[in-house]
């Protein structure tokens, strides 16, 4: 089983890239399955399931942080894909968290970035980009070549080892190189481990405290003046 995890800010074109990739994977005789993890609403599983007739599923993280949800369900998801006779599992994450990263060791991590999203985006999104294997830059037709070159430079500056693929996914341009990377990626190994380190500490907000201000919370905290410190037992 090969596991391909897609991340990227909302509306950056993840689904469009995945659809083009799946279309080509099927033509080459592969058997992909698709899992969408989102917070409140998603219909991509239906669209992709109906378009390609492949195993497709969605999962709402609901009250859980979506990347947290990835971590706790991924073993079952791989099992589901295996049972359905697939050899590739495509996971499309909600792509919201700029601190966590959903990539798993021995999976292929693909971050999708919109070319139009501003020159500082590569520095803003942290591990979602820096821990990915491939950065797919979408909507390249909407900006000038000079801007493309500068954006690409900034992506590489933020994530030195990354492979950059520029794509106009609506027209299927730049998809073949992504497919080749996917085919070349390694098999997943059990037990699976998260590739990056999640943020430190258990958060009192996560467990239900709603009051504003550090004085109302405990665990790992910070104030405007002081960087991280710990209050508790």
């Amino acid at each position: 089983m090969k596991l391909i995890i897609f991340a990227g800010p909302p509306t950056c074109g993840k689904t469009t890239v995945i659809r083009q990739v799946i279309r080509r994977m099927l033509k080459k005789g592969h058997k992909p399955a698709y899992l969408k993890i989102d917070v409140l609403y998603a219909d991509e599983d239906k669209i992709i399931g109906e378009e390609f007739g492949i195993p497709a599923k969605k999962l709402y993280s609901g009250e859980l942080c979506p990347d947290h949800c990835n971590v706790v369900v991924m073993d079952e998801a791989v099992e589901w894909a295996e049972k359905s006779g697939s050899d590739y599992l495509f996971v499309e994450t909600a792509g919201l968290c700029l601190r966590c990263s959903p990539y798993i060791e021995n999976s292929l991590g693909v971050v999708v970035l919109e070319a139009t999203s501003g020159m500082n985006l590569p520095y803003k999104i942290g591990p979602m980009l820096t821990l990915a294997d491939i950065a797919v830059i979408t909507k390249i037709d909407l900006i000038s070549q000079a801007e493309r070159e500068v954006f690409r430079y900034r992506v590489i500056e933020a994530a030195k080892e990354i492979t950059v693929v520029e794509s106009n996914a609506l027209y299927g341009i730049g998809i073949d190189p992504i497919v080749r990377h996917i085919e070349r990626s390694g098999e997943i190994e059990q037990p699976m481990f998260l590739r990056g380190n999640p943020p430190v500490g258990t958060c009192t907000i996560c467990v239900g405290k709603k009051e504003i201000g550090a004085k109302n919370h405990f665990g790992v905290l910070r104030t405007m003046e002081h960087d991280l410190f710990y209050i508790g037992e």
Binding site: M119, L142, I143, Q145, A146, E149, R152, Y153, G172, I173
Partner: protein, 267 residues
């Protein structure tokens, strides 16, 4: 990469039928225009060239450089990318000041002297614009004409690519005859997508597009070149009147008569 020729082999039009122009080849120094009604696929053709289409785009065309195809996963060192595409964009989306953007682009393109390149780029661009571009201005604040002038100057000076593709250079009110004059000083392959008869007839060849397909290839003949010179005079006439209007003058019939005579439009 030392570029000598670029060759485009036809694919198919929007409805799938093979293109009538089966191939065309450009040598260093050639100028070609791509003409046809809007929506006929002109921009798609230059996008194919820019992407080194390898029968892998919707048009199914094949682009060869120096007689060879470019392997799909071949990635050019961005410093040596042989093609600069000046798209129809009339606004930038980069949230950077002009000076910083150009500095990064000069660095990406590996220039030895970024400061000098930036200076030359602005000097080039400011010959085409109404009001000069200043380095501290945000890219997103530039007007449509300033944006296109900067794109052209950046491609030629900083990009320094041997093949330049220009999509509707005449748009956004830049000084297009001046642009052509400046561009011709550089020995490159120029591909113009244009609706402007003067630009089309100043080219060595023109391709007529229809329904996504290369329909016809015409080599500019000597008679057409003469007509081009006359169109140039009419262009200048329009430009001179534009200057009068812009500077707040009132227009008279005498002005027209004088212009017609000095430009030798009527004898």
């Amino acid at each position: 990469m030392d570029i000598r020729t670029i060759c485009v082999l036809g694919g198919n039009g929007k409805t799938g039928e093979p293109e009538k122009v089966e191939r065309f080849e450009l040598n260093m120094g050639d100028i070609i225009s791509i003409v046809g009604p809007t929506g006929c696929g002109k921009t798609t053709l230059i996008n194919d060239i820019e992407l080194f289409a390898n029968r892998n785009t919707p048009s199914n065309r094949l682009v060869m450089i120096n007689g060879e195809t470019i392997p799909e996963d071949f990635s050019f060192d961005p410093r040596k990318h042989p093609i600069a595409l000046i798209s129809q964009h009339t606004n930038f989306l980069s949230d950077l000041p002009v000076g910083e953007f150009l500095k990064i682009h000069a660095k990406v393109r590996g220039g030895d002297n970024p400061e000098q390149m930036i200076g030359e780029t602005l000097e080039f661009a400011n010959q085409l614009t109404g009001e000069a571009i200043i380095t501290s201005t945000g890219m997103t604040e530039l007007s449509g004409g300033q944006t296109r002038s900067l794109l052209i100057a950046d491609a030629v000076i900083i990009g320094n690519s041997p093949i330049i593709l220009l999509d509707e250079i005449e748009n956004a009110g830049i000084h297009r005859t001046k642009a052509l004059e400046l561009l011709k000083q550089f020995r490159k392959i120029f591909v113009f997508v244009t609706h402007d008869p003067h630009i089309a007839l100043l080219s060595d060849y023109r391709i007529i597009m229809k329904n996504g397909s290369m329909e016809k290839l015409i080599c500019t003949n000597p008679e057409e070149r003469k007509v081009a010179a006359d169109l140039g005079k009419i262009d200048n006439l329009m430009l001179n009147f534009r200057t009068y209007i812009r500077s707040g003058q009132e227009i008279s019939e005498d002005m027209m008569a004088e212009q017609l005579e000095t430009l030798k439009i009527v004898n």
